[in-house]
């Protein structure tokens, strides 16, 4: 019974953390639970959460993407630029997605065909993508976006468009990870790549697929980001890959691969989003905000390592017990 309770706690601990946090935040500021503020929080975390899904999928399969922020900026400025010349929102959105997917296919080629570590390959892409964004815009912001802002600032009925994007993407990623062969393969690859190969999984193809999905997510995030700030910012979203990684890790994705969930990642994004929001609402100093965020990340990683160690110990104990019984 105790073991079962521990499993429940382990599985739902991240949601409990968020729940407790929401209660504390609502006590700290009366406006925290207002509709306007909740909408704000979700709008603010939508870009980071979309990036976090990409990072989560990559981490689950044993990789990561350090180029997300720079590729977001590149796809965003190119999308803005295409919108200004074509006037078509659909084409602008497609351009952003295509550019980000191309960048991610290059990442995938470096990682799968040339066996470059994802850390180095995507770091190289980060520099290249940022460089192209700056070269293309000559370092200047692109202004006068007109209707392009509908993606990041518009509403469909009472719901902001960015939140609708987030909901749809969350459902798709959840379905993909839980109910498709690709999702199961990613866990297998991240858990033990050699075993995955031995069991007949096409690791290379699946890595390509996950980078392409990451590209689609980064492209959409690029459009939401630029339309939210009503400008094409070649210098924008610096370090946003860290926001995505943080949300994924806080949400229980394990850096050693094979572990991570959609709802956990979304909850991680909410924890970071609520934290940022409440610190602003109650006027906490910028420097203190950085310290608090750093502490939260450290605690999440310690929790991750601690829970894994416990699991490993349990497995070893069971295996030893079985050996004794068989002898």
């Amino acid at each position: 019974m105790k073991f079962r309770n521990n499993r429940v706690m382990e599985k739902y601990s991240i949601f409990i953390v968020l729940f407790v946090m929401i209660i504390i935040c609502s006590l700290l500021n009366e406006n925290f639970l207002s509709t306007g503020n909740i909408t704000n929080i979700i709008k603010q975390l939508s870009v980071a959460a979309i990036l976090a899904y990409g990072e989560m999928l990559l981490i689950v399969s044993g990789m990561l993407d350090l180029s997300a922020g720079a590729v977001l900026a590149l796809s965003g400025v190119l999308s803005v630029s295409v919108y200004k010349s074509s006037g078509s929102l659909i084409i602008a959105l497609l351009v952003a997605v295509i550019v980000a997917v191309v960048c991610n296919i290059i990442n995938a080629i470096m990682v799968t065909s040339f066996k470059a570590p994802p850390f180095i390959a995507t770091l190289a892409m980060q520099t290249v993508a940022r460089g192209i964004a700056l070269l293309f815009t000559k370092g200047q912001n692109i202004l006068q976006l007109d209707n392009y802002v509908v993606f990041g600032q518009g509403n469909i009925g009472p719901i902001p468009v960015s939140i609708i994007f987030l909901i749809i993407i969350t459902i798709i990623i959840w379905y993909l990870l839980r109910h498709t062969r690709l999702g199961r393969s990613l866990y297998a690859i991240g858990g033990n790549e050699e075993a995955a190969v031995a069991s007949g999984i096409n690791v290379k193809l699946n890595k390509y697929k996950v980078f392409i999905i990451n590209g689609i997510l980064v492209g959409i995030a690029g459009v939401l980001f630029m339309s939210r700030v009503n400008a094409g910012l070649p210098n924008g979203a610096v370090g946003y890959e860290m926001e995505g990684l943080t949300a994924a890790i806080v949400g229980g994705t394990s850096f050693s691969g094979g572990i991570g969930t959609t709802m956990g990642t979304l909850t991680g994004a909410f924890i970071i989003g609520c934290l940022n929001n409440i610190m602003n609402l109650i006027g906490i100093d910028s420097y203190v905000q950085q310290i608090v965020k750093g502490v939260i990340i450290a605690l999440a990683v310690i929790w991750d390592i601690h829970s894994k160690t416990k699991k490993t110990t349990k497995v070893v104990l069971v295996e030893e017990k079985e050996k004794v019984v068989s002898n």
């Binding site: 500021n29 406006n31 207002s34 306007g36 503020n37 704000n40 709008k43 603010q44 040339f114 940022r130 700056l134 000559k138 370092g139 200047q140 912001n141 202004l143 006068q144 600032q153 980001f225 939210r228 700030v229 009503n230 400008a231 910012l233 070649p234 210098n235 924008g236 979203a237 940022n276 929001n277 602003n280 609402l281 109650i282 006027g283 910028s286 420097y287």
Partner: protein, 329 residues
Amino acid sequence: MKRKLVSVLVGISMVAALLTGCGSANGTTKTEDKGKDGYRVAYIARAQSDSFAAWLANEMMAAAEEYDDITLDVFDGQADDEKENAAIENAITSKYDAIIVQPNNGEAQRPYVEKIVAAGIVAITTNARIDGIEGASSVDADPYAQAAVNAQAALEQVPQNAKVVVLNGPSGNFHADERRKAWQAEFFDKRPDVEIVGEQIANWNKDEAVQYMEDWIISNNQIDAIISMNDNMAAGALEVVAGKEEFKDILSYGVDGTAEAMLLIEAGTMTSTCLQSAIDLAKLNLETVHKLLTGEEKQIDTDIDAPLINKENVADYVKMYKDRGLIQK
């Protein structure tokens, strides 16, 4: 086979990088080689990724074209003290006649600018100046004056018992600190009735300012003015209140005179800004370096003007940006 392919690809890319490097090696941009004996000037830019720094570098090259006896090479410090210091050392080794440094972080570059002086090379620090280096000259925009002209205008414009929010630049940045000091001395100290209901560092960034303002309007139903240390952050905060009836009379102040700020002032959304003109700064830098190189003067410390831009005179500046293609006609 794969190894051979990799070797070939690496080889091709290295050759390509070297060939490209003829035009821009290590982030270097060269003006057209005039094939003449003249003064070689190195300009070490803070970061070509910074939109103002990029604009200034472009204007420096344009201004250098006006001088037949000056060849200007631009190097990119890439917003990194180590890289900027290395670029300064390389320029000293390459025996340039003058080196203009736009510091990433004044104190980090100070010993390297002192090395320029010690090597007998003309040294200028610009945007922002590094004070107190004997033998070095400086060309800058006075950040205190830039914020002060806005603060003085705000004294009359901001209503009694107003609630305001303040957006700061990165801490430790000379321009960010001086602009904030000016607002304190020229406005907040003289208007004790004004309450700051939110103040954060948004690092000059529009997206960070958007997020802060979104939170501030939740916790405060009255905000009378946005006081920002640059235009980018002011524009971000204004983006949040755009179209909201309760904030239709909000005042907002910035600094830099960006193209976006001109459009906002023209539309009546933003109250005022102060132009930090990269064009004027570049012209004054070239004028200064020319005077120093020709021996006309030994040391110069000078500033460009800090003109206030508001509804009355914005049309002139909109035209300036239109002429440069930074605002669509």
